[in-house]
């Protein structure tokens, strides 16, 4: 058992319904976790891991 921060204060997770999911694509790997109490969402956290770099292409001009 663990305490979860919720919209109703800290609650024991055994009292809550837990849902988890993820998104994985070329841009990100995201996980999320939700806790529900009697049909109400009382906690949602998300963790995004960025995969895609942003690259600036640099070039020096030639004189010929």
């Amino acid at each position: 058992m663990a305490l979860v921060n919720t919209t109703k204060g800290e609650m024991d997770d055994s009292l809550l319904e837990k849902k988890e999911g993820f998104i994985d694509n070329d841009n990100e790997h995201t996980t999320w976790i939700e806790y529900w109490l009697e049909g109400d969402l009382v906690h949602r956290s998300a963790h995004v891991k960025l995969k895609k770099t942003i690259t600036l292409s640099a070039e020096a001009a030639s004189f010929n």
Partner: protein
């Protein structure tokens, strides 16, 4: 409208005027602000603005400071090509926030230099309820760093 992942165009020019200092410790302070999915941060963004920024319990306008524990690095990949690169040295974390309206972008900007915009990074729309939102950075390497300046 939508947010678009990009290094901002103004940042490209500012590189040539040494406007931004990414040196660890003695350099500028960079921050990360979250934007609603309905906002329009993109390459054309020049400075941080609260317009379109998320709001909610536990979130301070302007976002959070970016941890810069590693100065930019550079490496030659051939006699004529190379890459300079930089990545924040820790995850960007918004702790105990409630952000009820979907957001899908973070703007990295230089709070030392009049909030000049650096880059926009997008992800799938998210909400947070009495929870934590974490952005984990890619590896700080020549081919994977968050920001890369490369010659070919």
């Amino acid at each position: 409208m939508a947010n678009t992942q990009a290094m901002t165009t103004s940042f490209l020019g500012e590189l040539l005027t040494a406007t931004h200092n990414f040196t660890t410790g003695t350099g500028d302070t960079f921050k990360a602000a979250l934007y609603l999915a309905s906002a329009t941060v993109a390459a054309s963004t020049t400075v941080y603005s609260a317009t379109g920024e998320v709001s909610g319990s536990g979130y301070t306008a302007g976002g959070v400071a970016v941890t810069n524990g590693t100065s930019p690095l550079s490496s030659n990949t051939s006699a004529t090509a190379g890459v300079g690169y930089w990545t924040p040295s820790a995850s960007i974390t918004y702790t105990t926030v409630t952000l009820a309206t979907a957001f899908d972008a973070v703007l990295i900007y230089n709070s030392t230099q009049s909030d000049k915009a650096v880059s926009v990074h997008t992800f799938g729309p998210q909400t947070v309820t009495a929870g934590t939102f974490t952005l984990t950075m890619p590896s700080n390497a020549t081919s994977t760093a968050l920001l890369r300046l490369a010659t070919t």
